[in-house]
């Protein structure tokens, strides 16, 4: 094909614009916890899929941490073979309904879509979501044929994105896999962290059920490190262990008054609402503060999830307090856009320095400083600098601190020979996830620090290959 032919093909495809996905209206959706985007119809999905020009060397695939055959599944959607498309995705991704919703496609597959150079990229994420939802709703989820059992047993610690991915991969290779999960439900951050309005929990449950159907054993209420150590697992006959325990410990700012009632870590606020269903109190037993003036400190996706949760719990004023500007915010543009639409008030270049409480020890005010941007720091973002004498107060009755997480120390503390770096994250060989302890692999946030669902899944995928080679050599 000459360049001119190619251009013509692109032009033709571009006559179809990128298809929008219908959403709940902002005013309606802040009064419920139902999912915001409503998904494509089959017709819209086929129309969108027809925009793909089926590149010979698809950039999109190289942008996918789990190497989905994107042109392959998109073509099947264009042909109307939605179940075939689901099978195609599941060859390399066992959680498509999740990834279609929470992956930052704009920084991965869609960023590298050739159409995006001149027009809008193919809506790969929306198509993935459509296909996964179609398959789930059709009730015809196929169980792949499994190879003969290898007789090798592998323990996976943590039922989050990394753990679920590696468990699916290893079972498909014929190994016996048991996941140990500390919480009472599987899913990790997909269950406790990401709100219902962004990722309905029924979807996570369905993906977990699929893994159980293909043979993954899951033991909940199992605090590895306390109930059983890694040494205990080897003693019980496991041939290898994968640690996908997440970066579970919340970071606080250590400023005066931070332990007043009404001040939460984002982890606690979201866990109460999502995992424990506190938004349905008293139907569910776990309470949550339904603040009128809620301030969320931070500018990441978790901060957006928290502030949008606050609105749905009935806040009259929900603020994002962020020390840099909108440009530097790490949250996805789509999340920020949704938050803006819903009426979140952004206070940029603002940093809290103290909380003031009432006689009952409940937070009432937040003392803040104005900031300005100085020289770029090591992250390349301009460093926020305090504007002297700029202190002011904001009335608040609920605060959610969402400034990051750090490594949970329990497993490194109870596992001899497992090396961690100075931040407490587990040291691994990059490509394989192998740790300094023989027979132990790790991946996801406990290695990288807070990152994305899909990167954790990618780490699970890589470790699966390495663990497979190792256990088969035993």
């Amino acid at each position: 094909m000459t360049d001119r032919d190619k251009t013509e093909k692109k032009e033709k495809k571009e006559r179809i614009p990128r298809q929008a996905m219908p959403e709940q209206e902002p005013r309606a959706r802040v009064t419920n916890f139902d999912e915001v985007p409503l998904g494509y119809s089959p017709e819209t999905a086929m129309l969108e899929a027809r925009r793909c020009i089926q590149c010979k060397k698809p950039g999109c695939v190289s942008g996918c941490p789990v190497d989905i055959d994107i042109p392959g599944f998109v073509q099947l959607v264009a042909d109307g073979d939605f179940l075939g498309a689901a099978r195609k995705i599941k060859e390399t991704n066992c959680l498509p309904a999740v990834c279609g919703r929470v992956c930052p496609q704009e920084d991965q597959c869609e960023k590298l879509c050739i159409l995006g150079k001149k027009w809008d990229p193919v809506a790969i994420g929306r198509l993935e979501r459509f296909v996964a939802d179609f398959e789930r709703k059709s009730g015809t989820i196929e169980i792949p044929k499994l190879p003969a059992p290898t007789g090798r047993r592998i323990a996976v610690v943590g039922a989050g994105p990394a753990g679920l991915t590696i468990a699916g991969d290893l079972v498909k290779m014929g190994h016996e896999v048991t996941i140990f999960e500390a919480l009472h439900k599987s899913g990790g951050v997909l269950i406790y962290g990401i709100p219902e309005f962004r990722l309905p929990k029924g979807i996570v449950d369905a993906e977990v059920e699929y893994l159980k159907k293909i043979g993954v054993k899951i033991i909940t209420d199992a605090a590895i490190g306390r109930l059983k150590t890694i040494d205990d697992l080897f003693a019980e006959g496991y041939h290898a262990v994968f640690l996908g325990v997440g970066a579970g410990a919340p970071v606080f700012m250590n400023i005066p008054g931070e332990n007043f009632s009404g001040i939460y870590s984002a982890n606690e606020y979201l866990t109460r609402s999502n995992l424990m269903k506190a938004y349905r109190f008293p139907e569910y037993d776990t309470p949550i503060a339904k603040g009128r003036n809620v301030a969320v400190i931070g500018g990441g996706n978790v901060a957006m999830d928290s502030v949008r949760t606050a609105l749905r719990l009935g806040a009259a004023n929900a603020f994002i307090i962020y020390r840099r500007t909108k440009t530097e915010m790490p949250a996805r543009a789509e999340e920020v856009h949704h938050a803006e639409e819903e009426g979140v008030q952004f206070k940029f270049l603002t940093n809290p320095i103290e909380y003031i409480g009432d006689e009952k020890g409940w937070v009432r005010q937040m003392v803040c400083q104005r900031m300005e941007l100085g020289e770029p720091d090591e992250s390349g973002r301009r460093r926020p600098v305090v504007v002297k004498g700029s202190e002011f107060t904001i009335d608040v009755d609920t605060v959610v601190v969402s400034v990051g997480t750090m490594a949970n120390p329990v497993i490194p503390m109870t596992t001899p020979g497992l090396e961690t770096n100075r931040w407490g994250y587990i040291v691994t060989k990059d490509e394989t996830g192998e740790t300094t302890r023989k027979g132990v692999w790790a991946g996801g946030d406990i290695v990288t620090g807070s990152a994305t669902v899909i990167l954790a899944m990618g780490a699970g995928r890589k470790a699966a290959k390495s663990i497979h080679d190792y256990v088969m050599s035993l």
Partner: protein, 278 residues
């Protein structure tokens, strides 16, 4: 699913429940706790393990009925199930190398103190126990406490049994009488622990308290259980549950325990427990 094997009402509103949890029973050490969740709509609450039987594979908990969840728990009988139990959590009590220990317990806290006294006794420590309640019929574990103590003092607030007064009064007397005390362990209502810490502080007697703040996951993930100890924020679930009583900000602990008092009342008023037919 964790099957209940025994349920005993110890006093008016203090109940002992024994249930099967063989893996936890094997690992558990004195001072550790579990998080339990009765059913899938329940909340997660921390309870200190009072006793464990690795052979039978059971755990014992003792709790006061104060809210909906403890009320519901108290209604569960042998053969019933608790849906979720996570543990053993927290650091075990450090019991090595203590010459003489005074164990000061109040109310339901006596239940939590007993395993520590027992573990100390097994290590050859001289154990002096001071246990107290509001009134005689609310006193629990008298015989058990006696069996692990070299000396046992009993107090009641109303004078209906033992010494008429508070546990802290007896402790003050012991100190005044020149009793050699290496360490004090105290567990009970927050105001009681605060007073005990105040009694020992001038004498420089190391005093450990076991805290029971509100928790959610119990694994260090949420920070609901944070307390201020020596001016620093600590998570009770992973850094505790025992801390130096002279360093704990008890006022903050008390206000954080009250954080959901309105909702707790509402939940109790609407309690589904009334529907239990037993």
């Amino acid at each position: 699913m964790y099957r209940i094997t025994e349920r005993v009402v110890l006093s008016e509103n203090i109940v002992k429940t024994v249930f099967e949890a063989p893996d936890i029973a094997k690992k558990r050490k004195a001072g550790q706790f579990v998080i339990l969740m009765i059913d899938d709509r329940g909340e997660r609450i921390p309870l200190t393990i009072v006793d464990s039987d690795p052979v039978k594979g059971t755990l014992t908990i003792i709790y006061q009925v104060v809210g909906k969840t403890t009320d519901q728990l108290a209604q569960l009988h042998p053969g019933d199930f608790i849906q979720h139990v996570l543990g053993p959590l927290g650091h075990p009590t450090e019991i090595d190398g203590v010459g003489t220990a005074v164990c000061v317990g109040g109310g339901v806290g006596i239940g939590v103190l007993y395993p520590i006294a027992k573990a100390l006794k097994e290590k050859g420590t001289r154990v002096v126990s001071i246990i107290g309640a509001r009134t005689k019929k609310m006193l629990i574990l008298e015989e058990e406490s006696r069996s692990v103590s070299d000396e046992l003092h009993i107090t009641t607030d109303d004078g209906s049994y033992g010494y008429h007064g508070f546990v802290s009064d007896v402790l003050r007397d012991l100190i005044a009488a020149g009793t050699k005390i290496d360490r004090v362990f105290t567990i009970g209502p927050v105001p009681m622990m605060r007073v005990v810490a105040n009694v020992t502080r001038p004498h420089g007697i190391k005093t450990l308290v076991s805290l029971n703040p509100i928790m959610v996951d119990g694994t260090g993930m949420c920070g609901a259980c944070r307390v201020t100890v020596g001016g620093k924020t600590k998570f009770t679930c992973v850094d505790g549950p025992e801390f130096d009583g002279h360093e704990v900000d008890f006022g903050l602990l008390m206000s954080r325990l009250q954080m959901y008092s309105e909702q707790e009342q509402k939940a109790r008023d609407l309690c589904r427990c009334g529907n239990h037919d037993r």
